[in-house]
Amino acid sequence: MKIIACIKQVPDSEAKVKAEGGQVTWGDAPLVINPFDEYAVEGALQQKEADGGTVTALCIGPESAREALKHALAMGADDAILISDPAFSELDTIGAARVLAAAINKIGSADMVVFGRQTLDNGAGLTPAQTARVIGWPMLSWAGQIKVEGGSVRVERVIEEGRVTVSAKLPAVISVVQSIGEPRYPSFMGIRKASKATIPVWSLGDLGATAPEAVVKRTELMNPPVADTASEIITGDTPQAIAETLVEKVLAEKVL
């Protein structure tokens, strides 16, 4: 099994992200591997453990994104590739899918490409399915469980309504959700290995690709309106008294 885990680097989920002067800022909050992509690496490593093979971590991003790749290496990925090019500043999801598809083809003979279900920054969740469409492989979205049998893969998709079992022939693109299992912590040996690893950088030229023109463009950034909430603490002698006062207040708001 040759498995590729696609990851991205994003500001930490605890970061106070704001729109400031037409830019998105997050102060001195750290950049980390996209939390959903940690599950992707975990899912990929589980498959490697079950069926043997290798896991390659693949990331589009600036030089700083090496740190996210090192995290994947420390978790247990065998190698890592950074795709970096100044032309990527305007990349939309389809552009990212085309770049990733080119890289997947350049790596060659992959059996499985694993993504997290979405990133914390853009949050569109489109790139996995668009990558599958560009390379013409089956797409298995929102997998909570992956099982490879012979040349096929069966996943349990976790969707709003329940769990759907879906199978496809390999190679396939899979996006995973949290049910795949808690991402493992990097081991001491893993961290040492990651710190020594050389991570090749591929440019658009290396991929034999030209910069995809963005179809989706941002025109404005805003901070969400902050609700002007005057809080009122309800008190009373007993829980029943508090509850009755609260119910009256809630019903008086006429939202129900």
Partner: protein, 348 residues
């Protein structure tokens, strides 16, 4: 403006935001609804009743289960065949816009179809303005901590709308029509082998009332856990008793059960209940937070609720800053009392 609206359903169960999408499309011009599946006459009828000017139907056993590839191929073929037809026949001209409710299925379907149609998708939009020919959408980024206005320069513009962000048209049973059959592209790459319903179907996006629990639901000291459990099992057992109280309150209010990330990470409840993680911004009329301290992701996920009530032992919990009404107290006493008080007042 000509809008196609994809009516998303799972085994005939229609996503209510599909109707909201029809309403949005009608406010911009004409609407053609799109219904895929097998045996979908009832959905077609409902689409006319909710205001669709015409309905395109692909009713075929090959589409019985939702599968990304045949659905995307059928949609792409439909949108592109109409793109080339005569402008003299406005109803069969190509769409300027394709709208979807935002679900796991539609994110995937729209994503793939956009590749075929060489256009883009604006996901989870909460507003859409027309500026001449240009459509400007508002959507959340960074888990909703920031909003962006965004455009799609391809045609048609594709967008998935957030539930409850746009008005829902009232159905009118007198509105009927004849559906137009469309060609099915059955190029499936996947096989659906089975389905198991979740114990409680969770649809937080469409819920008018959400009662949520956090880490605090596992802290009821008065409960005596069954013998033979280890520490973690005891914690989860306690939390499940806590969520049972929350579920009762949600049931009396006809609402859904939500959870904080801490509760989900603790293994108390499936993550499909989680509020305030990417993609799970909720906008109910009433949000009751029980034992939730209010981490930033959670606050971002629920702060657009019309009315927020917080119950927490810690008077300094950040959740109180977002709440119109707060109770500083023990949720294990307050929540059952609240259930009883609502039951009496609402006559249930």
């Amino acid at each position: 403006m000509k809008t196609f609206v994809y009516i998303d359903h799972f085994k005939g169960e229609i996503q209510p935001a599909s109707w909201e999408a029809i309403g949005l499309g009608k406010s911009l011009g004409s609407v053609s609804a799109i219904v895929f599946g097998s045996g979908v006459d009832a959905i077609t009828k409902a689409a006319f009743e909710h205001g669709a000017d015409e309905v395109f139907v692909a009713d075929d056993p090959a589409l019985a289960d939702y599968r990304a590839e045949p659905y995307a191929a059928t949609l792409s073929a439909l949108a592109s065949s109409h793109a080339s037809s005569s402008p003299a026949a406005p109803l069969s001209a190509g769409p300027d816009l394709i709208l979807f409710p935002t679900t796991a299925r539609t994110r995937e379907l729209a994503a793939m179809s956009a590749v075929d149609l060489k256009t883009g998708v604006l996901t989870d939009i909460s507003a859409l303005e027309a500026n001449g020919d240009e459509l400007i959408a508002t959507r959340p980024i960074y888990e909703g901590k920031v909003l962006e206005k965004t455009i799609c320069t391809g045609k048609p513009v594709m967008a998935t709308i957030r539930g409850r962000a746009f008005p829902k048209p009232e159905p009118d049973a007198s509105k009927t029509g004849t559906a137009t059959k469309v060609e099915v592209k059955a190029d499936a790459l996947t096989t659906v082998e089975g389905y198991s319903a979740s114990e409680s179907a969770v649809n937080l996006g469409d819920a008018g009332v959400i009662v949520s629990g956090g880490r605090g639901v596992s802290n009821n000291p008065s409960l005596q856990p069954p013998a033979g459990m280890d520490e973690k099992q005891v914690e989860i057992w306690r939390a499940q008793q806590g969520f049972a109280l929350i579920t009762e309150l949600a049931n009396v209010l006809g609402g859904a059960v939500g959870a904080s990330r801490a509760a989900v990470d603790g293994g108390y409840i499936p993550y499909s209940h989680q509020v305030g993680q990417t993609g799970k911004v909720v906008t109910p009329d009433l949000y009751i937070a029980c034992g939730i301290s209010g981490a930033i992701q959670h606050l971002v996920g629920m702060r657009n609720a019309k009315l927020v009530v917080a119950i927490n032992k810690d008077s300094d919990a950040p959740i109180f800053k977002q709440a119109r009404y707060g109770v500083v107290g023990d949720l294990f006493q307050i929540v059952p009392a609240l259930t009883e008080a609502f039951r009496k007042k609402l006559g249930k």
